[in-house]
Symmetry: C2
Subunit: 94 residues, 2 copies
DNA sequence: GAATTAGGTTTATAATGTAAACTACTTTAC
DNA sequence: GTAAAGTAGTTTACATTATAAACCTAATTC
């Protein structure tokens, strides 16, 4: 009856991250932090989980001398998001 | 940017329960158990949380000699569900 | 050169979800 | 009639998850 919801995406912050990345295709850590309102610590952890799952790619470089973390969604991430939304529809359509 | 998602509804099982109750208006414990595939213990706990929040009303009676638990969604529950869905749209629209 | 800010990561704790174990009663089998 | 199995749940203990506080490294400001 109810399809399982990918637990990795069924989390407010991780869903917001993916939702952002779907539209922009590339985003800096601080940009995501501002948009989501998350604390840096929490964001760091959640980005790591999405990365470990292969849903996003994380690139660490330097902007001048400051560290710069950039995130890009992967095909796997896009697919997972689409599946998640599809499953979710079952729950929220009246 | 991203509205908060009611944590009480942002849970697969509780969302499934509310989703069911939205359409049927009254459902027995065992019916919900079958439809959601949840274990009785888990279902009992989650129904309790929804009830404590005032999202559903729980009625305990007897069918013949067996205990019978029936759930009905409240106006508050309907409102919460609608708000949740509305907030969620922000996350899942591309 | 001390304090503040930037850009994060690590870790400790709180909150949550879930299944296993249990209660209470009923029905069926012997 | 009583032992075994089934029904309808609840309680409790454990595992997972989420989150913020504390920390780190380096740069900037005063």
């Amino acid at each position: 009856m109810f399809k399982d919801l990918d637990p990795l995406l069924h989390s407010q912050l991780r869903l917001a991250i993916i939702s952002l990345l779907i539209s922009v295709e590339s985003a800096e850590f601080t940009f995501i932090k501002e948009k989501t309102g998350a604390t840096a610590g929490n964001l760091s952890v959640q980005i790591d989980k999405l990365s470990t799952a292969g849903y996003i790619n994380v690139n660490k470089s330097f902007k001048g001398k400051m560290p710069l973390t950039t995130c890009i969604i992967t095909k796997k991430g896009i697919k997972a998001f689409e599946d998640y939304v599809k499953s979710l529809q079952q729950y929220i359509k009246k």
